[in-house]
């Protein structure tokens, strides 16, 4: 995929081609990843303080990981993404959502979640902390005029 050539320079009309240029479906795929880990998290939280069955949340967590990786791999196939603020936006958003994920993790840990359940919670929160920056940075990249 390449950036469109139909760019209007500074002071000219807005570059409408940005709105229609091809872009991989990273955002919907990573949204599905986010939905998977949120459903898994809700499943786990619904059993607190008892020990939850881990089959369903494990599948949802794994699905979240796979969808995140697929979303990121699709982005790597777009060469002009590296010319956008994707990496900077991703890093700062990751820092913010890492703090949020750590706080939620602490709430589970404080309530005696341990062992395999805690490991699963940790994986899901890690996916959450990676999903959100990817969604934000991919949207920024999608609408960045790389010809400007």
């Amino acid at each position: 995929m390449s950036a469109p050539a139909a760019h209007a320079g500074p002071g000219g009309p807005p570059n409408l081609a940005i709105l229609t240029r091809p872009f991989p479906p990273t955002v919907p795929i990573v949204m599905a990843s986010l939905a998977s880990v949120l459903i898994g998290g809700i499943w786990l939280a619904s059993f607190v303080p008892r020990k939850p069955p881990l089959g369903v949340p494990t599948v949802l967590g794994a699905l979240g990981v796979v969808l995140l990786v697929v979303g990121l791999l699709l982005l790597t196939r777009v060469p002009w993404v590296s010319k956008t603020p994707f990496p900077v936006v991703w890093r700062w958003a990751f820092l913010a959502y890492l703090v949020i994920a750590a706080l939620i993790w602490f709430a589970f840990f404080h309530n005696h979640t341990r062992g395999a359940t805690l490991a699963l919670v940790t994986v899901m929160l890690a996916v959450f902390a990676l999903d959100v920056p990817t969604l934000i940075a991919a949207t920024v990249a999608r609408y960045t005029d790389t010809d400007a």
Partner: protein, 184 residues
């Protein structure tokens, strides 16, 4: 003239203090503190979502593009730091409150209502984190350029207004559920 930074940096120490206080309140299991964080955080989260979704959003949608850009350049950076802080305050303290009150136990009369609230929050999270916040940040970055692309800002602002309306509707469901839980 847009602000020099995407988010208001001066707000970060305040947010840091709030988050440290949240950890202390959870660690000490302070009933007053937990209720303060959950009720104050939840009330503000719901109120702001409803106000933005049903009052600010429709007004914003009818403004001219320059007026919309001018307002958004000052409004959206604040939203980018306030909303995630309120959400984490409400959810982290809420889990602890629900555990302390026994509302999460399967036998509790409130268990199903809380599950319903989890689902509502989950839907709001996917919409807000997947569409609304990325649109918000992208508009802020676009507006900092020497020549912002009005078409991009227009499309993303429309997305912001629609998703703010969706989260507003979900917040009505939250109000119904939480008032039911508190009165059973």
């Amino acid at each position: 003239m847009p602000p020099r930074t995407i988010i208001p940096v001066r707000a970060l120490p305040v947010i840091g203090v709030i988050l440290i206080a949240l950890v202390v309140v959870i660690a000490t299991n302070s009933q007053w503190g937990l209720m303060l964080f959950h009720v104050a955080g939840g009330g503000l989260w719901t109120g702001i979502d409803l106000f933005v979704g049903f009052v600010v959003g429709p007004i914003l949608g009818r403004l001219s593009l320059p007026a919309r850009a001018e307002f958004s350049a000052r409004f959206m950076p604040m939203m980018a730091v306030i909303m995630p802080t309120l959400v984490v305050m409400t959810l982290a303290s809420g889990l602890q409150v629900a555990l302390n009150l026994g509302n999460l136990d399967v036998g509790s009369i409130n268990h199903r209502w809380l599950m319903a609230s989890f689902i509502v929050v989950g839907i709001m999270a996917v919409v807000a984190l997947g569409i609304l916040e990325p649109a918000n940040i992208t508009v802020l970055i676009e507006m900092r350029k020497p020549v912002p692309n009005g078409a991009v800002i227009g499309v993303l602002m429309k997305r912001f207004v629609v998703t703010a309306g969706v989260t507003g509707v979900m917040q009505v469901a939250t109000l119904l559920i939480m008032t039911r839980v508190a009165t059973q």
